[in-house]
Structures are given as structure tokens and as C-alpha cells.
């Protein structure tokens, strides 16, 4: 058996890192556990470097059960970046609101590992394992503030709905296995091409769309996300919005484009409807929200709708669009949530009304919030605009109505984003004392700010990287 371990460098490194963090946490006296966060960040940075250096080392393991290609590497980079930013930006929040728990860091690492495994999955078992490693880690993380009833409740809801969606996904996978007789995605594609639309396969596809729709929080499978987003500790919310969503999209593409491209005509329209509903409902329901985390939750539902557009297209350009959007979405979301966390540290509130005068109390935070929100809305010259351009250009032919809906809804989204801006910038603060954020959070905010702007103005290199990665997608 020829098993090339060098392909698994990223995974193994992360695994070792996660275990080491855990063991260190077990061994270290509680006073010195504070350094674990920095250790985790440094380790993840190292892993990121390894991934990038190892970029060209690509291939398949075990007859296509595990795929290490540019597509997977690109997403790995996204996850690692997100994990680093999330941990780095939230030292103080974790210290103050969650407590000095070493499990937090190793669980984040394991959640990231789950995502990493997930995007590399070439067969259903690997897919499922990665997905569950991620989901289970996230359940723990969501319920992490276990002294806070809200967090527990969110954890319970997330657990139940995640388990249910896993079950539905699995049922779909089992039906696909029944219809095609294989669980390796590449072979599934061949079987689908040969066999066409078997009723069993179609039912399986419906289940898969529903199950993974839960994971990406697409309407009508979105009910969990506002509650969970609100209840979870803010850094976790941010990681959930970024990592879990991106990973689910990655695997959604892998399955539907890698496996079921042969029956594209059967699933394209339902997915398009799902995308349209997500954009519509997500944006409209976000308008009356008064809690910023809930608002961001609904907005992230809408973002899921935008990203789904790339799936509808089912082309290389669509994949590229999804990857590009996922990458920039990381920075926008993490930036916004880091601000939310930093502000919560000071004022102990997530209500939008309490953000009054933020522009004067913490100019950087307010600016980052502004830029990130507008990037999500797709206002040029921020990254979100380019992302939307890439995404929507893919469906101009055939789904023009989706383009209209998407762009108009994204302009509608400006309405509720601007309400936050309004509160932050117009009002004078009740308490004018400046909000201290800590150097790590400041640095994170700065990184997200700069990246969001730079990606919007000069997206060329990233686009080309995504392009290369997308090209590797269909090689299997």
C-alpha cells in the first residue's frame, strides 16, 4: 500500500498542534495557561506556512478517498487564516467572558482540523468524519460559556439541529451510495454520468441539499443560526459564520460539482431558489433586528445566498467565485465580530443602540465595522464588490433573475448596515471614555481592514490563485 504521508503534512501538523495544546493545558498550571492562546496562534501560523510552502505537493490518497488539490489547499488556507484571526482577536474576550480555559484553543484547532479534512474529502466517509469533527467541536464551542444560560441554550439548539442535519445529510449520502454503488465522489460522478437520474439518486440529492442547507444556513433551513449566533461567545460566532460556512460550501461544491454534475439540470433550479430565498429572507429579516449579532446572523444567511449562486453556475468560474468570496468573507466577518467582541468587553451589551458614539470612543473599531459591513454589502471599492462581481457574472446566462435579485438585495442590505453606521457615527456617546481593545485585537482589526480594502482594490493575485485552485477541481 503506497501511502504518501507527505500529502497529509497540514493535517498531521494540525493534529499534533491540537493535541499538544491540549496536553500543555492539562499539564500547565492554570496561571501559565494564558500563554496557550499565543502558542495556538503561533502553531497555526506555522501550519499555514507549511500549507503554503507545500502548496504544490498535491495528489490523491487511497484511490481518491482523500484529495489534496489546489482547491482543498485554498480552502485550508482560508480556514487557517480564519482560525488565526479569530483566536488572535479574542484573547481578551475569552479571558474576561469565558474564563481561562485551555480547551477553548484546542477545540478551535480541532474544529479547523475538521474543516481541513472536510475539504479534502474524496469520499463520503471522510466527508462525514470531517464534518462531524467540525460540528462537534463547534457544539462545544457554542456552549462554551456554560455559566451563561444563553450560551447553553444556543449549544443545545445547535446540537439538535446540527445532529438532525447530519442525519438528513447522511441519509442522502446513503441513498446516493445505494443509487451508485460507490462512495468515492469521483466514481459517483462516473456512475451518475452512466445511470442518469435514478429516483433514488434524486431523493438523495434532495436530502443532501436539505442537510447541507442547514450547515450553510440557507433559507428555509436557517432557523437555528440567529439564535446560535446570538448565544454563542462572539469569537465562536465569528468562526462559525466563517469557517463552518466556508467548509460546508466547499463540500457542497465538491459533492454537487464533483459528483452530481451529470444531473446538473435536476438540482440547479432548486439550489437557485434556495439562493434566492436566502438573499431575500436573510436581508429582509435583518432589517428589524436590534441585536448586532442577530443582525449579522441574518446577514450571513444572505451571504450564504450569494455564495450559493456560484454553485448554481456549476462552472469553473463559479467555483472560483465561491472561493474568492469565501476568502474575503473571512476578513469582513471576523473584522465585524472582533469589533463586537471588543465592544462587548467594555459595555457588556450587543445591542445596536449601545453602539452610540463608537466612532468617537474607538475610531478604529468603528471604521473596521463600517468597512466590513460595506464589504459584505458589496460596495466598491471593498472586497465584497469584487466577490459579488465574480459570483454573479457566472449566472448571467440562464439565471438573470438571480443576478437582479442578488444585487438589489445587496443594496437593500446597505439599509440595515447603515443603521449601525448611523448609530456609531452620528450619535454622541453616553459615556465618552475610549474603548481599550488590547494590542492583539487592534492588530486583528487592522489586518482585516487593510485586507478588505486591498482585496477590493487589487484582487488580481488572489483571483489568480483562486483560478488555479478552481482548475484543479475538475482534474479528479
Amino acid at each position: 500500500m503506497n501511502f504518501d504521508f507527505s500529502l497529509l503534512t497540514t493535517e498531521l501538523a494540525m493534529f499534533v498542534l491540537g493535541l499538544t495544546t491540549f496536553v500543555l493545558g492539562l499539564v500547565a498550571p492554570s496561571a501559565s495557561r494564558r500563554g496557550l492562546g499565543s502558542f495556538a496562534v503561533l502553531g497555526l501560523l506555522l501550519v499555514l506556512v507549511i500549507t503554503v510552502v507545500n502548496w504544490s505537493n498535491q495528489g490523491e490518497l487511497l484511490n481518491g478517498m482523500y484529495l489534496v488539490d489546489g482547491y482543498a489547499n485554498f480552502f485550508k488556507m482560508i480556514f487557517l487564516t480564519a482560525a488565526i484571526l479569530v483566536i488572535f482577536g479574542s484573547f481578551r474576550y475569552i479571558d474576561q467572558n469565558v474564563g481561562n480555559h485551555f480547551e477553548y484553543y484546542s477545540t478551535v484547532i480541532f474544529a479547523t482540523l475538521g474543516m481541513v479534512v472536510m475539504v479534502s474529502a474524496g469520499d463520503f466517509i471522510t466527508l462525514y468524519l470531517g464534518m462531524e469533527l467540525m460540528t462537534i467541536s463547534f457544539i462545544i464551542l457554542v456552549a462554551f460559556r456554560f455559566i451563561e444560560a444563553k450560551s447553553l441554550e444556543a449549544g443545545m439548539k445547535y446540537l439538535l439541529l446540527a445532529a438532525m442535519s447530519s442525519a438528513v445529510t447522511l441519509y442522502g449520502l446513503s441513498l446516493v451510495y445505494g443509487a451508485t454503488g460507490t462512495i468515492i465522489i469521483g466514481q459517483v460522478a462516473q456512475a451518475v454520468a452512466r445511470g442518469g437520474a435514478d429516483p433514488l439518486l434524486i431523493v438523495g440529492l434532495v436530502m443532501l441539499v436539505a442537510g447541507l442547507g442547514f450547515k450553510v444556513a440557507a433559507v428555509p433551513f436557517h432557523m437555528w443560526s440567529p439564535d446560535v449566533y446570538e448565544g454563542a461567545p462572539t469569537p465562536v460566532t465569528s468562526f462559525l459564520a466563517v469557517g463552518s460556512k466556508a467548509a460546508s460550501f466547499a463540500i457542497l461544491l465538491r459533492l454537487f460539482l464533483g459528483g452530481f454534475a451529470g444531473v446538473h439540470d435536476r438540482w440547479a433550479l432548486p439550489v437557485a431558489v434556495l439562493a434566492a430565498l436566502s438573499m431575500l429572507i436573510g436581508n429582509l429579516v435583518a432589517i428589524p433586528q436590534t441585536n448586532i449579532k442577530r443582525m449579522l446572523a441574518y446577514s450571513s444567511i444572505a451571504q450564504a445566498g450569494y455564495i450559493l449562486v456560484g454553485l448554481v453556475a456549476a462552472t469553473e468560474a463559479g467555483i472560483k467565485g465561491v472561493m474568492f468570496y469565501a476568502f474575503l468573507y473571512v476578513f469582513a466577518t471576523v473584522g465585524a465580530f472582533t469589533v463586537v467582541a471588543a465592544v462587548y468587553n467594555k459595555i457588556q451589551s450587543d445591542e445596536i443602540a449601545d453602539y452610540a458614539g463608537l466612532a468617537q470612543r474607538a475610531p478604529l473599531a468603528a471604521t473596521v465595522m463600517l468597512v466590513c459591513l460595506l464589504s459584505m454589502a458589496g460596495i466598491p471599492p471593498l472586497a465584497g464588490f469584487v466577490g459579488k462581481f465574480y459570483l454573479f457574472q457566472t449566472v448571467v446566462e440562464g439565471y438573470m433573475w438571480l443576478v437582479y435579485l442578488g444585487l438589489i438585495m445587496s443594496m437593500v442590505s446597505v439599509y440595515y448596515y447603515l443603521r449601525v453606521v448611523l448609530v456609531m457615527f452620528r450619535d454622541d456617546p453616553k459615556d465618552p471614555s475610549p474603548i481599550e481593545m488590547g494590542s492583539a485585537a487592534t492588530l486583528t482589526l487592522f489586518i482585516t481592514l487593510v485586507t478588505t480594502i486591498v482585496l477590493g482594490i487589487y484582487p488580481g493575485p488572489l483571483a489568480e490563485m483562486a483560478n488555479m485552485a478552481a482548475q484543479s477541481f475538475f482534474l479528479h
Binding site: Q360, P380, M411, R426, G456, E464
Partner: protein, 385 residues
């Protein structure tokens, strides 16, 4: 041309804004001076460009770096900054008004530092739209301007008939929804051009060379008309304009009425004439009709106003109707007229608004009946208009 003059012109206000970020907010005067310096440099450079432009040759000149610099390869976007007869007056206008706007807000003391930053970003954004010769870069700058305006309206705006929040939001949503249609049009045009030529190219020149089918052009031009039209406050998409002006602080009103609206006309001419001529031909009568309605309707609306700002706001809507008429002629003379009108109205409207600002500053009213006998108390105000 080794020195990228246009880029420098664009960067001057941005650099000034960055410098102001690091000035403590107590140093108001310093902020204002830096802003004035930034816009002053930009104005000087644009004058240099204006007089350096060889009118006998025409066409695109002052190309930065001598050629389009590839920017985003897979979208065919290039960093292509240049001016031609169309953008040159607009560039000059922008910097003129920008420079004036800084001084128009010289006496603002409420959060002056932030005001200057937004103002400079706004000026840079507007300037960018006029000198970008690439549709994508044009779009990048196109919407940069909306958000600073919104923030400036909600912070420094004044509430009379409608609240400043309402005015700001109305303005923003109108412009953004309009731009959504514009975006759809641009994306579809881009995709179609790739489908026809096989290579992505987003520069106006490149797109102009593509022979789009007529039906497609008509469709797309309709979308772009919606987008640019709402920015130009074309009837019936004009109602944000008087409210917005009334709510906005002086500097914003100046820039908005003076140059921002002109982006609509400018874009319409660029896209209409250069990229989608057949579509333009189809829509020209409609544009003309809408323009006439706008002229008449807004003029009558202006007659009924008692608030100075509303008066000027409606009059500017009316003026834009003339611009539309010029565009609709699709001829060289008509377009020349449109551009000339835009320049003239730009200067004039900016002057109007700045004057209203001064009057308001001194009298704390914009209500026309209250201002009886103004020419005696402030004789120099008579000279205007």
C-alpha cells in the same frame, strides 16, 4: 510621460486624508489646512493637466504609465487612467469644487477632523470616476462616494422639512438601488463581451470595439439608464435630490450638486456613446422625453419652494434635464452642450450651495421670506447667479 500625474492628482486628497487620521482631533485648524493643501495640490495638478492637454490632437491623453497597466487579468481589468475632452472639464470641476468645499466648511467646528477626512475621500472618489478609462475601475470609484455622503449627511446635516436621517437614507438607497441595476448591466455586458470576443477586456475602449447585438444593447442600456439616471436625478428618480440637498451640510451639497450628479451624465455619455450606441439610439427619444418632463416638472417644483436649498435642489434637477436632452441628441454638438452645461451647472450650483451655507451660517435661516432685504445687508451675495 513618466510621472503618473493623474494618479498623483488622485492620491493627493487620499494622502491628505491619511495624514489627517493621525492628527489629534483637537488640532482642527491643522486638519483643515492639510485638507486645503491636499485639494489645492490636486487642483494645481488638474490645472496642469488641463493646460497640458493637446486640444488639437484630442482623444485620450495623459495616460498614466503610458499604457493600461494590467490589474485583474481574469476580468480584463487594467489600471488605465487618462483624460479626454469629456473627462478633462469634469476633472477640473471636481478639484475646483473640492478646493472650494474645504473652505466652505472652514467654520464647521463640530467634529471637523472627521468631516475633512470624509470630504477628501469623497473628492478622491469623484475624481477617480472621471479619470478611470476602465469600466471596472470606474465602478470601484462610482460608489465610493455614496457612503461618505451618507455619513456626512447624518452627522453634519441639518433637519428642516425632513429629518437628516431620512434624507441621508433616501439618498443612499436611491443611488444604491439604481447602481444595482447598473451593476447588473455592467456584469451582463462584460459576460457578453467575453462571449463575443473571447478575451476579457473591461476598458471603455475595448468594450466599445465589441459589436453587441442590438437587442442586447437595448436591454443593457435600459438598465444603465436606470442606474445613471437615478444618480443624475432624472425624472422620475429625482425625489432624493431636493431632500438630500436640504439635509446635507454645505460642502456635501456643493460636491453633490456640483460634481457627483455629473457622474450620471458622464457615465451615460461614456457608456451610451462608446459602448452601447445601438441601445442609446433606441432609448434616445425616451431620454429626451424624460429630460423634458424633468426640466418642466422640476422648474415648477422650484417655483413653489420657500427654502433656499430646496429651490436650488429642484433647479439642479431641472438642469439635469437639459443635460439629458443633450445626451439624447447623440450628436457631437448635443454632447458638447451637455458637458458644457454640466460644467457650468457644477460651478454654479456649488457656488449656490456655498452661498446658502454662508447665509445660513450668518442668519440661521434658509426660509426665503425671512431673507427679505438680503442684498442690502450682504451686497456681494447679489453678484451670484
Amino acid at each position: 510621460m513618466n510621472i503618473p500625474v493623474l494618479t498623483l492628482t488622485l492620491l493627493a486628497p487620499i494622502i491628505a486624508a491619511l495624514i489627517i487620521v493621525f492628527i489629534p482631533k483637537e488640532e482642527e485648524k491643522l486638519c483643515k489646512w492639510v485638507a486645503a493643501l491636499g485639494t489645492g495640490v490636486a487642483l494645481a495638478l488638474s490645472l496642469y493637466v488641463y493646460f497640458g492637454y493637446d486640444q488639437s490632437v484630442g482623444g485620450l491623453q495623459w495616460v498614466d504609465f503610458g499604457r493600461p497597466v494590467p490589474w485583474i487579468r481574469d476580468l480584463g481589468v487594467s489600471y488605465y487612467m487618462a483624460v479626454d475632452g469629456l473627462s478633462l472639464p469634469m476633472l477640473l470641476l471636481t478639484n475646483l469644487i473640492g478646493f472650494a468645499a474645504v473652505f466652505a466648511s472652514w467654520n464647521v467646528s463640530h467634529r471637523a477632523k472627521e468631516l475633512m477626512i470624509y470630504l477628501l475621500v469623497l473628492i478622491a472618489g469623484v475624481m477617480g470616476t472621471f479619470i478611470a478609462q476602465d469600466l471596472f475601475i470606474f465602478l470601484l470609484f462610482y460608489e465610493v462616494v455614496v457612503i461618505p455622503i451618507y455619513i456626512m449627511v447624518i452627522i453634519w446635516g441639518s433637519s428642516k422639512r425632513v429629518t437628516k436621517e431620512y434624507a441621508g437614507m433616501k439618498l443612499t438607497i436611491y443611488l444604491l438601488i439604481g447602481s444595482a441595476f447598473l451593476l447588473v448591466g455592467v456584469i451582463a455586458t462584460f459576460v457578453e463581451s467575453v462571449a463575443i470576443t473571447g478575451t476579457p477586456n473591461m476598458s471603455f475602449e475595448g468594450l466599445a470595439r465589441v459589436a453587441f447585438p442590438e437587442e442586447f444593447q437595448i436591454y443593457m442600456f435600459g438598465l444603465m439608464l436606470l442606474g445613471f439616471g437615478s444618480l443624475l436625478s432624472m425624472w422620475p428618480f429625482h425625489s432624493w435630490s431636493p431632500d438630500g440637498y436640504a439635509g446635507a451640510p454645505t460642502a456635501v451639497s456643493m460636491i453633490h450638486a456640483g460634481v457627483l450628479k455629473k457622474i450620471g451624465g458622464y457615465g451615460l455619455i461614456r457608456v451610451a456613446i462608446f459602448v452601447l450606441p445601438l441601445g442609446a439610439k433606441f432609448w434616445a427619444p425616451w431620454i429626451a422625453v424624460l429630460g423634458v418632463i424633468g426640466v418642466a416638472y422640476a422648474a415648477m417644483g422650484a417655483l413653489a419652494q420657500k427654502d433656499l436649498k430646496y429651490l436650488v435642489g429642484y433647479s439642479s434637477v431641472s438642469h439635469m434635464g437639459y443635460v439629458l436632452l443633450g445626451v439624447a441628441s447623440l450628436g457631437v454638438i448635443g454632447v458638447n452642450g451637455a458637458v458644457a452645461n454640466m460644467f457650468a451647472h457644477g460651478v454654479m450650483a456649488a457656488l449656490f450651495f456655498s452661498m446658502i451655507g454662508f447665509i445660513y451660517e450668518k442668519t440661521h435661516t434658509r426660509w426665503i421670506p425671512d431673507l427679505g432685504g438680503l442684498s442690502h445687508q450682504a451686497p456681494r451675495c447679489r453678484w451670484d447667479s
